[in-house]
Symmetry: C2
């Protein structure tokens, strides 16, 4: 079994869970009303392929990407369904994954028999992508799929797409594909890769569960060329997205105020946390372009820290299972201010 964030032990309900990267503002208020109104709809089957919700997303994206239509969109029971569906539909022979990153890509692709190779980022380089080295690695390995997450989980590093155009152009030339997980991009002001959709063979994964704090409902989508979406639809299972999730898509996408407040809160709170965490000796804090921080311990093990923090009702994500990280690394989400203060104080008292 793959390790995931999410506290699931005996202190449930009591622990402050910094291991999952959910919007700390909680459910949008409008959503609560909307679900109250619409949950009687669960008697009926959800629309089999979510055609209406795809139309809603297409109209929402049309402000920035007028060439997109619902034929460029596929819905998922969370972004996770689409990782596995992509693997099944494309069956790449050899995949290059930029590591360390979310572990489900590798599992999904291995299940379909893809050979997996890594392009390893390093702490010494602040987990930045060196695009020349990446291009060299792609040519060397002859991978027919490149997979990465942007901003990346767990490093919280965002890579601007302009820097990657040479890489994308090469992959297009050799008829390879590019899988980009943008699950955390809506927490930032960064530009999506969607403007490259008609230029390069990219598949862009979008999560709505993290930014709208609806992880339990499962809702994601992906953008790609209509040809690629059609290939996925050959394998798509019916009724995967539940009717509550389908019903709320429009309301969520229209709630621009919630996103604006979320971004503003994160900007302030991240500055506060970075400043405070940086004063703790024995701790390295990496810059964050997401709603979480990657940290490393100089003289301690994260697994030991995890146990000690749990005694203070705090749960963190130790990162020893991420390729290229080890037991000195851990990840924490940005949560409510008082929760973050409690984390910082607890770290101060434990970390040497």
């Amino acid at each position: 079994m793959i390790k995931h964030g999410g506290y699931d032990g005996e202190k449930q309900g009591q622990v402050i869970d910094f291991s999952v990267n959910i919007n700390p503002l909680g459910l949008p208020e409008k959503l609560i009303e909307r679900i109250r109104e619409s949950f009687f709809n669960i008697v009926s089957y959800p629309e089999v392929n979510g055609s209406r919700a795809r139309g809603v997303i297409a109209r929402h994206l049309a402000f920035d990407y007028p060439e997109l239509s619902k034929e460029n969109i596929i819905l998922g029971n969370g972004a996770t369904e689409l990782i596995y569906l992509f693997a099944r539909a494309l069956r790449p022979k050899k995949t290059l994954i930029i590591q360390p990153t979310f572990t489900e890509y590798e599992r999904a692709l291995r299940l379909l028999g893809s050979e997996i190779v890594y392009f390893q980022l390093s702490a010494a380089n602040n987990f930045q992508i060196d695009e020349e080295k990446l291009l060299f690695k792609l040519k060397e390995t002859k991978a027919d799929l490149l997979v990465f997450c942007n901003p990346n989980n767990p490093t919280a590093v965002f890579t601007g797409y302009q820097r990657l155009e040479k890489v994308f152009a090469y992959l297009k030339k050799i008829s390879a594909n590019i899988f980009i997980d943008e699950s955390f991009i809506d927490f930032t002001d960064q530009q999506s890769s969607a403007s490259f959709l008609d230029k390069y063979p990219i598949f862009i994964l979008k999560s709505m569960t993290k930014v709208y704090a609806i992880a339990g409902l499962r809702l994601g989508y992906a953008l790609a060329s209509s040809d690629l979406i059609a290939r996925l639809n050959v394998f798509k299972e019916p009724w995967t997205v539940n009717s509550i999730a389908l019903d709320i898509v429009e309301m969520l996408l229209k709630d621009k105020d919630y996103i604006a407040r979320s971004k503003k809160y994160l900007r302030q709170e991240k500055a506060f946390m970075k400043a405070k965490l940086s004063t703790i000796k024995g701790l390295d804090v990496f810059d964050s372009s997401a709603n979480f921080f990657l940290l490393s311990l100089k003289n301690q093990k994260a697994s030991v820290l995890e146990e000690k923090l749990l005694m203070k009702d705090i749960y963190i994500r130790s990162c020893e299972d991420f390729p290229g990280l080890d037991d000195s690394y851990f990840r924490v989400a940005v949560k409510k201010h008082q929760e973050n203060v409690h984390l910082i104080q607890s770290l101060k008292s434990i970390v040497k």
Copy 2:
């Protein structure tokens, strides 16, 4: 795209939909309260493999099947997820499907490259299974998987498992598997095949969405040997069942009064419908051991009837796409009494 029940046209909200086989009693009242209380939980990820809910199901089943544990149970995002997961995990070479039946089994298995052969039931024999002929067909085709639905959709015929023991014993002997979809069995008083779990290599699919009228929420599970469940878990995707569905499992299984009322209603209403429908000349009504009826037209096409009924705000499921049926067949769910009366009167005025 495979054809499915469920009206999705311009008259939505106005049409009485007889094409989907959902419990006509609607949402259990206790469920409505329970969801109101628990829906704030959607902020958090659902338990990754639904361990608690599997424990609840195991305890519920323990009354009838004390040897079952949660290692014999796998949860699904609706029963549909488990059809596809089963196909991926088992990859049978050759599958014998008892037809006519639900079309997703064939799609799921074809996607994995299984050769598909049919054991065809016939109207002349009231779509009953002749177990000797079935055994002969299995030996002749050397299929390594038998797939059937019981009670069967769309024929509404239930086959007692004692009659199939010789077939099951043969399939065990040749190390083949048996896939049984019992999605509609909880509408009946029939015995499940679960008592044969330790004797034969069966995989039993259970839907909770139909009998509890929560099609929009997606919730199903399956029972099998712990070995077979472990094989499925190799391919199981994380977080597929949303947290609302997980939260309500216990409440639903404990609501025995709802099931008792549902069965009582169906018994009475089916007797009423059978009697009334049988008086319509030009119409054959098959016996029903489920919550729906299969009917056939003597002198008309079901597709034409479908159009005419839609003008009266009634939607039926014409069955021309089921292997072995043709455009004279259609299926209707048992719905609320006044809705059923409206259907019967409309059929009387149209069918010749």
